[in-house]
Symmetry: D2
Subunit: 371 residues, 4 copies
């Protein structure tokens, strides 16, 4: 039978297993429907509650998820003993209160990014999760994207050698957020990727930008970070750009990589570099330039959100705590907060206040086998 | 007769006119031979002297320019009353001394970029040129490049509206300079272009970078500038990159431009932007995004160096002083110096010390008809 | 209120108007579900029946379209007086029989492309439709795609001048069809686009290809067509290619166009050409080459299938017969048939048998205002 | 010492060795000066004569090559016993007469492409060269270009598997030739490359085109060839195109290659293909699609013309006859002639008349180690 590779989306959602993990989804705005759809495909999960303040939205999604109950009240969700975990996809300023309630109720929680509007509140949530021995995970989905993982494997395998610097652009025309700067909106993507790749918090952050359109809301920012290892990273973030660009260049001592999220070849590995030769007879050093093959490795194709939620549910079922993810989320908030502070101070250097536990947890992921 | 557009280079050099301007070229390193070649095509110029410390080079170029005399001694050049102008293409640290001697000898001078290794010395040269009423011009050739001029015309015509910010990358693999950072090497290109376009000195400069290969010589730098008009500019400079990139994005209130120096379409004009609507009934503002045509205008094709030297020689013959070019060169040195200082201070903000005369001369070019 | 351009798909399907046109959809394979989805968004249409031989599929789509009835028997559909039109998305070899039954039952019919497996059967259907005074339309959706329409407008406006030739590539890796050559599979796309643009049937067709993988099923073909107007067209079709390409170049006497279906700028207009100057003094002609701006016009963004079905339903409601579309579909089958015959004869020229009515109907669309 | 990779062209030409091979260059039009320049860099060659009908040109190049003598008369060149070989870069219609004189005079000859204006004359030259035991080589320089050689190595190494088909485009805006079609002008490039790669003459050729601008001179042609091995090749040639393109796609059973002559990555190897699985249980075959890494191998950087002339001179000095090159040149003329004939006959198939000696010599190069 002729059976070519199918590009047709599988239509039949997985039926929940009898011992499926009970999940509630809170928030039906932009991202919530995606979470619902992906959970519907996960046989280990059962969406038991959908919660939102808007009754029309509830009615609409009830039809699509007939087995779930709907409510405008979080307490009804939290009092259901069959709910093991709650996924929060509400506006940022509500993250702390909702997640704290979920943890206090003894349930695991998955919060959309960024985890909280300040590092203090993010730390509080982490402490609460630790006290209650519950998972606190944050939706940094790029950490699950195939090209980002491919680059991580290259870094861990030493393919790039020592990383000298990273230069990144994440720009597009729109959409302006009405209450936060472009750093809070787009920064978490790049910062989570950098933390995942480097397993290291920056020590200093600087940001210079401009509120071109709406006074008080920066819509372009150039963020520069330095790391204790010597790495320098420059991240350009903007809602104003002639064309969409999501491109990161990593320059290492052995090889260089371009990760271009929208390209048909999202990862390109350049066998290029400079070799420093120590002084010999005449007491002068010598440099040679190396320029070899360029490789576009085949990148797997799957939906990152599916793997991320599957990881969350699997952690619940196997009693893991996802400390790396908690540390990652706290670190992202730290960088965003520092960058935003620098931006408001006209580009002044802001040192990052480290917590030993964060670094330990970030660093623990270096060199480990990856999911 | 079939006469299609010829791509064959014209072989016959122009013969100097009988009243041609006498020129001397000092320095036969990387750039000097290009200057000689281009001067050979200019009917208004006559190369009377070629000067270099290396006798082999002199012998080689004497053969190619049989009408020119060669020497290792600048004083012989300066004592020739038929030499009206001297073109200096020697290492940067010699620029000041050589150019000063030329001016003291009462001759016009054209110095390769950057003009001098410090703003103080650059200012001294400018003062000397002013006292002796001679031209002091510096080889910022990009100011003569067709795509840079095309963008200038767009800016002056108001096509872009108010410029919000500029983001630029000038990166390549190599060549490391042995005595100066990448800021001194590549920075003058971008800084001269920005000054030419904006007719405005930045007020603050910050640079963060790294000396990845040779200790003490930064090979990557992220330079951020702010301008009194509100414009923010970010310039990435690097000798370490997977592939060559010379790309500048200008984001304006009306349109956006990508200038990509190596591309087959070096200037692309995007009819895109955001419109801010003031609050109306409900007291909330409203944004609309506009996305129209993209235009790659036809860009003229000529060698910028030819036009630049022709401009210099024409200024000599018509008794002009090229104040804009002197001011531009002094400003470039100011920015390079400030950026290098910031880099060494770990990214600290450095304010630019303005001289009223520089700003006046820069600003004078705004809105003027262009050559 | 902050209201940026939304990229979120509108979720609420239009509710059918009370006088909505009753539609049946036959065939739930690859394309049928798309037709159902799009019909669900059309307020003027009501899907009354879904018909397929597979009961599982019927069950699945009944859930999604609760107001429609499902059946495995076409006669039940045809006997429903409230069904005004039937949309057929079944395998090609069934098109003729099913469409004929629909027309005989006095209903309008929309058939997926290609209309029929031979020009004879396609002509029969057209005759039947004409006799019964019903619409016979075929799903050549590219005719409704925004970039194809943009190019049509340029042609009609004379922007390109006289078209000299057209060169097209439609290649990808897979999917091999099991019973027909790549000409039957991919050819209808290009042929329908060419017919729409040129309003003219080719007079000769040649095709050379190869059955590289499966004996007897050509998976690559180079099709060359000549037109009475002098236009030459070359179309490369392949299921074997290193990367997907859907690119058509039109070379006209005044301007040239590249239409690249997958590109971010799908239409690019080049102000380039050659001017022939008649012989003058020396009796020899002279050519000059012209190379001006390149324009990427803004292309509208909508789903072509939506507009196509809306056009079909609107034609039913306003009692139009869509003769151009019938003629287009018959012409496409003619070209496919001729190309396939040439391919099997090793590239021999095949002349197209014209029917006056087809040409008249095709030609009628030239210069007309477009939807 | 800092010694980075130099991009500065080496200026000093090689001095001829005392036993250098004496060469004459005939024709100083477009290509002759390049030949002179390259010969000047070859220490094994000494240009003894420069011959052209235009005395101004002779005067100009005498200055540049002071050791060469100049003349308007070929007989003076041929009577010089120190001239071992003559390089002919004159218009095509003169190739036969000039080359024949050279061979009759007992000297080796290198003729610019195409070798002769008909296959009969090309065969005559080959016979003459064979009788006189002299080298007859033709300037199919692409055979010496680094990316073309890289693809040849891949083919010989079996990297592509069996080649199914080849699709090529060589298009640009201009320059129209005044006396020959685009097939005679651009075709030799593609045809020589295909012959070099495949070591096989096509058996049939078809060409359809149009004389869009100048009546009688086709400026666009689509040439289709079939080979006894089953390979199909389509070559698009045009002087009318919106942008320059020199791109060849090779589709093999194991891998695919894109060779793009103007691209920064001129050779890209795609690990993609289709696997046919024989029928098993249900008696139906099965296809699987494979899509792996993409590799841009580092391509050497040298001037093909330099290697080509070096090969010619080396063959003279080591007494080789370059039979492959003679056969290649004769084969190119055969294909051009056949394609032009097909074009004039409206695309009729033209069979290639093979000579056993040509095929043997072409085939001999298959699998051999390459220079």
């Amino acid at each position: 039978m002729l059976k070519p590779t199918s590009s047709i989306t599988e239509e039949h959602a997985a039926l929940p297993a009898t011992d499926a993990t009970g999940i509630a989804v809170v928030g039906l705005g932009y991202w919530g429907p995606n979470l619902l759809r992906v959970l519907g495909d996960n046989a280990d999960a059962e969406v038991r509650w959908i919660c939102d303040l808007d009754r029309d939205r509830l009615a609409k999604y009830r039809r699509r998820h007939p087995s779930a109950r709907v409510t405008t009240r979080l307490d009804r969700v939290l009092s259901d003993p069959d709910v093991e975990a709650v996924i929060i996809a509400t506006p940022v300023h509500t993250h702390y209160n909702l997640a704290a309630q979920v943890l206090v109720a003894g349930k695991h929680v998955f919060v959309e990014k960024p985890l909280a509007p300040s590092s203090e509140l993010a730390d509080d949530l982490a402490e609460l999760a630790s006290e209650r021995d519950r998972i606190l995970m944050c939706g940094h989905t790029f950490v699950y994207s195939p090209p980002v993982r491919a680059v991580k494997r290259m870094i861990e395998a030493g393919t790039l050698g020592d990383i000298y610097f990273i230069s990144s652009s994440r720009v597009n025309l729109g959409l302006h957020q009405r209450d936060v700067s472009v750093i809070w909106d787009l920064g978490p993507h790049d910062f989570s990727i950098l933390l995942y790749w480097l397993s290291e918090l920056p020590t200093t952050v600087r940001a210079v930008g401009r509120d071109s359109i709406v006074k008080g809301i920066a819509d372009v920012a150039f963020v520069t970070m330095t790391f204790a290892s010597g790495i320098v990273a420059n991240v350009e973030l903007s809602w104003l750009a002639p064309s969409k660009l999501r491109r990161t260049v990593l320059v290492g001592s052995e090889r260089m990589v371009i990760y271009d999220d929208g390209a048909s070849e999202p990862v390109r590995l350049f066998d290029r570099g400079v070799v420093y030769h120590d002084p010999e007879t005449f007491g002068e050093y010598h440099l040679s330039y190396r320029s070899g093959d360029i490789l576009s490795p085949k990148i797997e194709s799957y939906e990152p959100l599916g793997l991320e939620l599957s990881d969350f549910i699997s952690a619940i079922r196997t009693d893991q705590r996802m400390e790396f993810h908690t540390a990652l989320a706290r670190s992202v908030v730290r960088i965003v907060e520092a960058a935003d502070r620098s931006l408001r101070a006209g580009g002044r250097e802001v040192a990052l206040t480290d917590h030993a536990d964060i670094s330990d947890q970030l660093f623990a992921r270096r060199g480990l086998a990856l999911a």
